[in-house]
């Protein structure tokens, strides 16, 4: 058996809910997989689909996007706008062959430290099962190779 594959995962989260939920997981001393790197944003409304593409370009095997539950948005509507964008973007990625298992979305409130920790574990485990995102990584390798014919 090969060494356990450690997926690289990038998470984009809003500061008011999910980031606070992650802090709560910390203050509650819950333990979870260390594979996710968090980028903090004011609101899910600020999370652009471009971020997801750049995370993949950087070699991420998976991307997580998370924010406040509907109705809880600190900015009242940011997450509703985000939800539409994700819905559309997710369908687009799926159609392009970027599997939705690699790009996940969640609502985690500031009170859901446990949900955050569980999600970190389950996302890591799911992506570990999928293995490295070889197809995308192959595109990156191609950019480093001079053209031959």
């Amino acid at each position: 058996m090969n060494e356990l594959f450690e997926p690289e995962i990038v998470a984009f989260v809003c500061t008011y809910c999910t980031y606070a939920g992650a802090d709560l997981a910390g203050t509650s001393r819950l333990k979870y997989a260390p594979n996710v790197r968090i980028i903090r944003l004011p609101c899910t409304g600020r999370i652009s689909p471009m971020f997801i593409l750049k995370a993949l370009q950087k070699g991420a095997d998976g991307v997580l996007v998370s924010g406040c539950h509907p109705g809880d948005c600190h900015f009242t509507h940011g997450n509703y706008h985000a939800r539409r964008r994700w819905m559309v973007f997710r369908a687009l990625l799926e159609f392009m062959g970027i599997p939705s298992e690699r790009v996940k979305f969640s609502w985690i409130s500031a009170a859901e430290g446990g949900k955050f920790a569980d999600l970190m574990n389950s996302v890591t485990e799911d992506i570990r099962k999928l293995g490295p995102f070889d197809q995308y990584k192959e595109l990156i390798r191609e950019t480093e190779t001079p053209a031959t014919f």
Binding site: K58, T143, E144, T145, P146, A147, T148, F149
Partner: protein, 337 residues
């Protein structure tokens, strides 16, 4: 004495060249698209096309090419140059206009700084051209003082025989001779009747056009605005053109390392001449189209004594709004000089 390559020997030729370490490239037609591409056997070649959608330019000057790899360290920048990997190639079945295009661009890539990427590939590639027996409404080599059987830029010229039997071999350069010596035993001596070469009517009077273009007052002519009104400013014409050669550098990477690339660029884009200040000296599409025509038929010949157009007609053939060099030069021909 002339030698003949019979079509039924072609597959053996391909095998032989490949065995000798050459990458064999030729016109290939896929479901929706055609180009010059590497093949493993003669069956993959489609020699019946008037010409592939893409020109052979990309084989020498790829649309994107890594130039150097950089690593950013705290106190230093490590740079590793890329060189094109050595690759001996033979392009079988190039069109005379495509081959001419490469010859037109040679002085550009070597007049001052010698572009190794270009010349290494040029030196390692044998261009075997087949004279055209067919042409379409967009072909205009004759208007550019070239012909369906121009040998310019070719290492070997093949003249089609009647009944599609094969080709009369005309070796033009040492490179070509070497490649054909490799398959000497597959050729046969003698002569057979040649198929007739395509008739490409002249579409405009190039000299009259050039005279008009060279007149300074015509630079500001309203003609440019009228002729380019429907131009949408894409780069389809420039990128398909065998002679258009503008490029841009782009660094791509993350915080720690990256690659500097050379990418095709186009005078059709508004961004091409955009200044950092926001000012754009070629602010309108008509100014950009004028630049393209002026460059090809006025500035480039002024410097290199050759028009930067080989008459393939791809610009018109593929234009989304049915424009192109032909229409413009035809219109100029009718203007008062």
């Amino acid at each position: 004495m002339t030698r003949i390559l019979l079509r039924d020997k072609l597959d053996n030729c391909v095998a032989r060249w490949r065995k000798a370490g050459l990458t064999v490239i030729g016109p290939v037609k896929k479901e929706t698209f055609s180009s010059y591409a590497a093949v493993e056997n003669a069956a993959e070649l489609d020699l019946s096309m008037i010409m592939p959608d893409r020109s052979i330019k990309g084989l020498f000057f790829p649309q994107t090419e890594p130039m150097l790899h950089y690593t950013i360290k705290k106190q230093a920048l490590d740079i590793k140059d890329f060189t094109p990997p050595p690759e001996k190639r033979i392009i079988f079945g190039a069109r005379p206009c495509d081959a001419s295009g490469m010859a037109i661009d040679d002085p550009l890539f070597g007049w001052d700084y010698k572009d190794n990427f270009w010349f290494q590939r040029r030196n390692e590639t044998v261009i075997v051209t087949i004279a055209c027996t067919k042409a379409d409404d967009f072909c205009m080599c004759t208007s550019l003082k070239l012909a369906p059987d121009s040998t310019k830029g070719s290492d070997v010229m093949l003249r089609p025989l009647q009944n599609n039997r094969g080709w009369l071999v005309e070796e033009l350069t040492d490179r070509g001779r070497d490649a054909f010596n490799e398959i000497a035993d597959l050729l046969q001596d003698g002569s057979e009747p040649e198929a007739s070469i395509a008739v490409v009517p002249e579409k405009f009077d190039l000299d009259a056009c050039v005279t008009w273009l060279q007149k300074t007052e015509n630079f500001e002519s309203t003609f440019w605005k009228e002729i380019s009104m429907r131009c949408i400013g894409c780069a389809s014409c420039t990128f398909l053109c065998p002679t258009c050669h503008c490029f841009d550098f782009q660094d791509e990477g993350d915080t720690y390392s990256g690659i500097r690339r050379k990418n095709w660029d186009s005078c059709s884009f508004a961004l091409f001449t955009m200044h950092t200040s926001g000012h754009n000296p070629r602010a309108t599409q008509s100014a950009r189209w004028r630049q393209r025509i002026m460059h090809k038929f006025n500035y480039f010949p002024g410097k290199f004594n050759v028009n930067s157009c080989s008459g393939c007609g791809r610009c018109s053939r593929q234009c989304p709004v049915d424009m192109g060099i032909t229409e413009t030069l035809q219109a100029i021909s009718t203007l008062q000089p």
